[in-house]
């Protein structure tokens, strides 16, 4: 057995927002609301670190801070031994290429007039301008095929696909740069049970195939139970419990974890 290696480390991450009042609010300084309140974590290479919690607990804000889509108010963030918050310009871009996100709705932030080929190939175009057109196309096609979509998908538009296929496209876009870390924020919560299971299985396969490390965010303990090596239970901006998945699920230490577990409607055992 080789010793574990920390890929991503966060110390005392904090983020607060002004409650209510947007740009047009009369009060310049309204009361602040703390979305992430001093989170520490260390994610080992190759593991799936899951964060589970109810709506508004701060999990999406945390996920986005970890990949620097949102700037923390304070705290430290280390990735591959580097101080991620200190990096700028080309150096930051190089590290961010190694960390990608998979979203609940992969197309929410993308132009609906983009064809699938452009959507999946765009990161290549940005980070590898040196690649030729045919090389880019070939890598895009291969990636789509790996997530279970044929070459005919390339020329089509996202609205022509079902929810499950759209998530496969989102995963292809996230993986095309061969990142080290993938942060998946509720990747199956918009999907039907039968299709969600397909996507979870695909994520598991891709993890071992590409040696990925996952941070997996979800409100669903049963979904997390399928994926996680470790689980952090988050409430009101804080981790109330962190531990190996088996332990958190079967020997929960915190009362809130027990409450969450008790509320999960059970199914007959298989």
């Amino acid at each position: 057995m080789h010793t574990s290696e920390i890929l991503l480390e966060a110390r005392d991450l904090r983020k607060s927002y002004r409650r209510g009042g947007g740009v047009f609010s009369k009060e310049a300084e309204g009361p602040r609301f703390t979305a992430v309140d001093g989170v520490c974590l260390a994610v080992e290479r190759g593991e799936t670190f899951a964060v589970v919690g109810e709506s508004g607990c701060g999990k999406t804000t945390l996920a986005r801070m970890l990949v620097r889509l949102i700037e923390p108010d304070s705290g430290e963030l280390g990735f591959r031994g580097k101080d991620l918050l200190a990096l700028r310009g080309a150096e930051l871009r190089a590290e961010r290429r190694q960390m990608q996100m998979v979203f609940q709705d992969p197309f929410a932030s993308l132009d609906p007039r983009m064809r699938v080929a452009e959507m999946v190939g765009e990161p290549l175009a940005i980070h590898h301008p040196e690649l030729g057109k045919t090389e880019k196309q070939e890598r895009t096609r291969a990636m789509l095929e790996r997530v279970g979509l044929g070459a005919d998908a390339l020329k089509r538009y996202p609205h022509e696909f079902s929810g499950g296929q759209r998530q496969r496209i989102g995963i292809a876009r996230a993986l095309i740069l061969r990142p080290k870390l993938v942060v998946a924020d509720e990747p199956v919560s918009a999907l039907d049970v039968s299709v969600g299971a397909q996507v979870l299985l695909l994520l598991q396969e891709l993890q071992s195939e590409f040696g990925l490390t996952y941070i997996f965010i979800s409100h669903s303990l049963p979904v997390v139970a399928q994926m996680a090596t470790r689980i952090a239970v988050m409430r009101a901006g804080k981790f109330v419990e962190v531990g190996p998945a088996e332990q958190v699920l079967h020997l929960p230490a915190h009362a809130y974890t027990r409450e969450l577990l008790a509320a999960v409607p059970s199914l007959p055992s298989r």
Binding site: V193, S194, V195, G196, A197, A225, V264, P265
Partner: protein, 338 residues
């Protein structure tokens, strides 16, 4: 058998650019007073469309066929059924599917009510909660004195176990948390005393801890008020918790029906089995997804609609739509293997 609500051969057809589609296909079901029927199925299987047909809220241009009888009690349903059989067409006023909009206004809210996944779709955002409930009562009992309406509205809020009902009554929907909004909607739905309640994914948007409270509330109310409850969900765990019986829907048809515990413990249709094996539980196990996806309504396979995804299919499965076959007493499944 006679029940409070009996639906027979309900078919809904909708016009689309690609021709007529059938989101609901020859559905029959029954629910008794105080009983809860769980309707499960994946997205697009037709659950909401079925509910809308029973609420008289189908989209314009929809064609509907079949019979849905709702009585005060079993006796009334039996009488209506007999009368309909004797003089077909004449007793059409008692068939929910044949009501006109004027007749519906008396039935909707008064005899049947519905709660939705997103309470904001049925709550008025600019009207105080208390006022909305009072209006719901007044719509059915216009002669009630103002004081009585107020009292009934307060009772309705109390029934839904809303803490500090007087305070909440003065608030607007956006001032309430998701769980409280759902309670307010339940209070409003039940304010005029319906006997049949449809709940369409009422907890899907809620956190699990809040979901549990709402499920407990609905369970309590249907027992106390002897409501017939049609509970729609895509979550088999939820259905196990709230339903006495369960009906599984796929591509517009009911493909399995029976006592909830039995259907979930020993499902007989390969689709229900697949759905159970694809549902994550707290036990880590190898998930087995169902290959492929739900068919488009414009391309429902002939014969068994599940055939392209079914690992047990045989030649005969494409020949004709399998009948609902009796698997065990009150447990039926639409599969040639049963």
């Amino acid at each position: 058998m006679t029940c409070l609500l009996e639906v027979r051969g309900l078919t809904v057809e909708l016009p689309t650019p690609a021709g007529w589609v059938r989101p609901v296909n020859e559905v029959s079901l029954h629910i008794d007073a105080g009983e809860s029927l769980g309707l499960v199925g994946e997205s697009g299987s037709g659950k909401t469309m079925l509910a809308m047909a029973l609420m008289g809220l189908l989209p314009p241009g929809a064609r509907v066929e079949g019979e849905a009888l709702l009585g005060k009690d079993r006796k009334e349903v039996a009488e209506v059924k007999e009368k309909n059989a004797r003089e077909p067409g004449v007793a059409g006023g008692k068939n929910l599917l044949a009501l006109n909009e004027r007749q519906w206004r008396a039935v909707r809210g008064g005899q049947i009510a519905m709660v939705f996944q997103e309470p904001m779709t049925s709550l008025n955002p600019v009207m105080r909660i208390g006022r909305q409930i009072e209006e719901a009562i007044r719509a059915h009992e216009s002669r009630l004195a103002a004081g009585d309406v107020k009292r009934r509205a307060a009772e309705a809020l109390g029934r839904a176990a809303i803490p500090e009902p007087q305070v909440r009554a003065e608030q607007f929907p956006h001032q309430l948390s998701g769980g409280l909004r759902q309670r307010a909607m339940i209070a409003m739905a039940l304010a005029a005393g319906p006997r049949f309640l449809i709940a369409d994914e009422p907890t899907t948007a809620l956190d699990v801890t809040v979901q549990k409270q709402i499920l407990d509330l609905l369970d309590h109310l249907r027992r106390e008020l002897r409501l017939a409850l049609l509970f729609i969900t895509h979550d088999l765990g939820v259905v196990r918790q709230v339903a006495d019986r369960v009906a599984v829907m796929y591509a517009g048809r009911i493909i399995e029906e029976g006592p909830a515990r039995q259907v979930l413990a020993s499902p007989r249709h390969p689709y229900t089995q697949g759905l159970l094996n694809a549902s994550p539980t707290l036990e880590r196990g190898k998930l087995s997804p169902i290959p492929g996806s739900v068919p488009q309504l414009t391309a429902v396979p002939p014969g068994c609609a599940f055939e392209p995804r079914c690992s047990l299919r045989r030649a005969e499965c494409v020949a004709a739509v399998p009948d609902l076959r009796v698997a065990d007493q009150s447990h039926t499944a639409r599969c040639v293997l049963v």
